[in-house]
Symmetry: C2
Subunit: 454 residues, 2 copies
């Protein structure tokens, strides 16, 4: 008996599921992707580099076009907006078209930038950055030559967009509600990032709440109003994070968690809803350290979850045992601001305390290469460990060339449940152009061991 | 009751033990280091960069001078060669001096470059590279402006010294007995290294056995004789690896293993010899994957073993439980040749087969950053996995900027005993300037999973 797998959403998660299912099913089986926009399989993370001019064209950010997918036998339908899911009838309603029936449904609707409900938020010139269309809108806006760009929020996207705007020569202000930039890293490291931003000529205002937007008669933004006064702005970029696009799922009664993320099991199945899977930026996922369900919208998770969902769907259709499961995340993230590299993984001090751990926090400045090599720079590694179990709980890095990617030693050690003692004894790569004899993560782990003893 | 800890050898392992013990013992206790040379705590790994001119002075390679250590209360005695150990009397004999008695003894005598027993090997101008004195000798030799430098062996030191000699403008030939350069990596990756060497103007001859050295009347080398003919040479650099300096230990009846390395337990104690520890390049260590005792002389292991030995000695003296143990190694190594980065960890295919695994080997070319970022390069990741257990057994990388350090994800995963499935699901850092959405190690792990299924 032939079957039809319907996927809502044609970016990383959706197309990974579609491709994975397509490869394993027979010619009579259909794989249909319903995408409300015009792009598939694109890198939203690349948008700041496109805006900065480092990447020339949005086409560079597209890993596979709709036609590429069609050649692989996937029925990709663009400009097709799903308006409702009927889980009993196993159909989805489509704006301006006939309902589409499914045997298995995948929800991969992604996430949308947070637009706070403030006066003037509907004005022209106020942009979130999530889709390629958003990226184009920002570029069109910047092409008009604004005098003042204000970026609201200093998380990853805020930071990357601020760098892009400064690189293009615009007067750029970053407003952050928290008392520090990048609240996802500890204040001590945030201070280094703030210094780098100021050094690049960015006007940085922390501890500043946005209260509204002033618009001109044509409805275009002219200023950002804050707790700290008014900041003139021709262009505003919202870097306030994203929430799951889960209104369809919500209306269908599916379970939702943090930031509206759909709750799924480790096979990406929606529990209690036979035949429905969800993956990518629209779901919540388990933190491997706390077991909490959190919303971490990142392409790398979307791709893995897509693989897992495809495996599960194929197993379900063919009556096999699924082979894959998604183990959750450890909140690894990385970025850079100009030449300053920034990364984190695991829990920060407050997160660790909130989760019931007894955290010890240490930070060490160390050399990125052997200190005697020409051009060697420095980096700061902060580490969080649990006093009771001696387990590594998290690490954060800010520093020079080759600094940030070292976070992956900690990411891997966290997944393995290693203690800081284990980390000290890891056999990590050493040669003078790459490292001191103690690798930076181990320098911090030794400090953690010392702090645990003291 | 006061005690005396005597350490033979003042480089990484010896001085780490001495410093660690010194910190924990009382003022009446003595810590004596007997060093036959004039340097302490130096980086032998930095010698090629000193020879290349990237590092100015040997002083830059010295982490702590004898006086630094003396200020910390360590009795460092230079130019003091130990000639025998009397384990019954607990004394060591010193050339031209009185015997030194000990309560606890640490052997940290290091390693010596292999000098094959070939005709002419005693000639002038034929240099191993292990101590700072060796480095100075090579520099003095090169200052005389040789016309032809021949490097024998294409391991790490051979490669790094060849790069240094070419950088200084000398005509440089590398001779390698094996059919490929760098036999420690698989042939496929070795071919990329060979190409880079040739591109830099190095004359490379693989499959070539050195049979002897021609000397002039003054006893200086003039040519290297090989299975493949004679190569003119004013300066010869031996890059044939090192063996443990363990003749003292051997004469005292201590157990020796591979390449003469002293056999120790995971506290660095010499079993059956109460009160004797050994650490660093003079010992063998356990491979965490095969349980075999192997000789892996590297500063990073010497430092860790020094910590462990110090902890064990202090515990022994104070009647406490030791806290540290050395878990062994996974054979991680890293280097670069010009801009080509090279790293490895774990087992190669043959090593895996010899150890009784059923290896699957895959290799994938991938992008070092997101492929659309300007300046993105490529890298090849080779991965070895066990067919039965699905365990990761090893990984090797050759590639562009930021390629080699990624090996540490595999080093950490090996220590944790992860399967390739586990590696695919790791939460590794992703942002376009650093990585594709699948991190390079995961690209290879996915290929390994596919190969295991096929």
């Amino acid at each position: 008996m032939s079957s039809r797998v319907v996927v809502i959403g044609g970016d990383a998660a959706g197309m990974t599921v579609a491709s994975g299912v397509r490869r394993r099913l027979g010619d009579d089986d259909e794989v249909v992707v319903l995408e409300r926009g015009t792009w598939t399989s694109y890198s939203a993370c690349g948008i700041p580099y496109w805006v900065a001019g480092e990447v020339e064209s949005p086409d560079d950010l597209v890993a596979r076009t709709p036609d590429d997918h069609r050649k692989n036998g996937i029925d990709v339908r663009l400009d097709t907006e799903v308006t409702a899911i009927d889980t009993a009838a196993r159909t989805v309603s489509v704006r301006g078209g006939d309902p589409v029936s499914y045997d298995r449904l995948v929800i991969a609707t992604g996430a949308a930038p947070v637009r706070p409900d403030l006066q003037g938020i509907e004005g022209d010139g106020i942009h979130g950055v999530q889709s390629l269309d958003d990226g184009q809108a920002v570029l069109d806006e910047l092409a008009r030559g604004p005098r003042h760009v204000v970026v609201v929020g200093s998380g990853y996207i805020g930071l990357e967009m601020a760098e892009a705007c400064v690189a293009r020569g615009f007067d750029t202000t970053v407003l952050e509600r928290a008392p520090q930039v990048m609240p996802i890293i500890e204040a001590e490291l945030g201070a280094s990032v703030a210094e780098a931003m100021k050094g690049r000529g960015i006007h940085l205002r922390t501890g500043t709440d946005v209260t509204g937007f002033a618009l001109d008669e044509a409805g275009h933004v002219t200023a950002v109003e804050t707790s700290d006064g008014s900041y003139p702005a021709d262009t505003v970029i919202l870097g306030l994070g994203v929430t799951a696009r889960s209104s369809l799922a919500d209306a269908a009664g599916l379970p939702l968690g943090a930031k509206g993320g759909i709750v799924v099991d480790d096979r990406q199945r929606v529990e209690g809803f036979d035949g429905i899977w969800a993956a990518g930026d629209c779901v919540v996922t388990r933190d491997r350290l706390t077991d909490e369900l959190i919303h971490i919208p990142l392409g790398t998770h979307a791709n893995k979850q897509g693989l897992v969902a495809a495996d599960s769907i194929v197993a379900d259709l063919l009556g096999e045992e699924p082979r894959l499961s998604f183990p959750g995340v450890v909140q690894t993230a990385i970025t850079k601001f100009c030449s300053l590299e920034i990364s984190r993984t695991g829990l920060g001090e407050k997160q660790a305390r909130d989760a019931g751990f007894d955290p010890v926090v240490v930070s060490k400045e160390t050399s990125n290469w052997a200190g005697y090599m020409p051009g060697a720079g420095t980096m700061t590694v902060l580490m969080v460990a649990d006093r009771r179990s001696r387990r590594l709980l998290g690490a954060q890095i800010v520093g020079a060339e080759d600094a940030a990617l070292r976070i992956d030693v900690a990411s891997t050690a966290l997944a393995a449940g290693m203690t800081v003692d284990d980390v000290v004894m890891l056999d990590l790569a050493y040669a003078p152009p790459f490292s001191s004899v103690w690798s930076p993560i181990q320098v911090a782990a030794r400090a953690a061991v010392k702090a645990l003893a003291g």
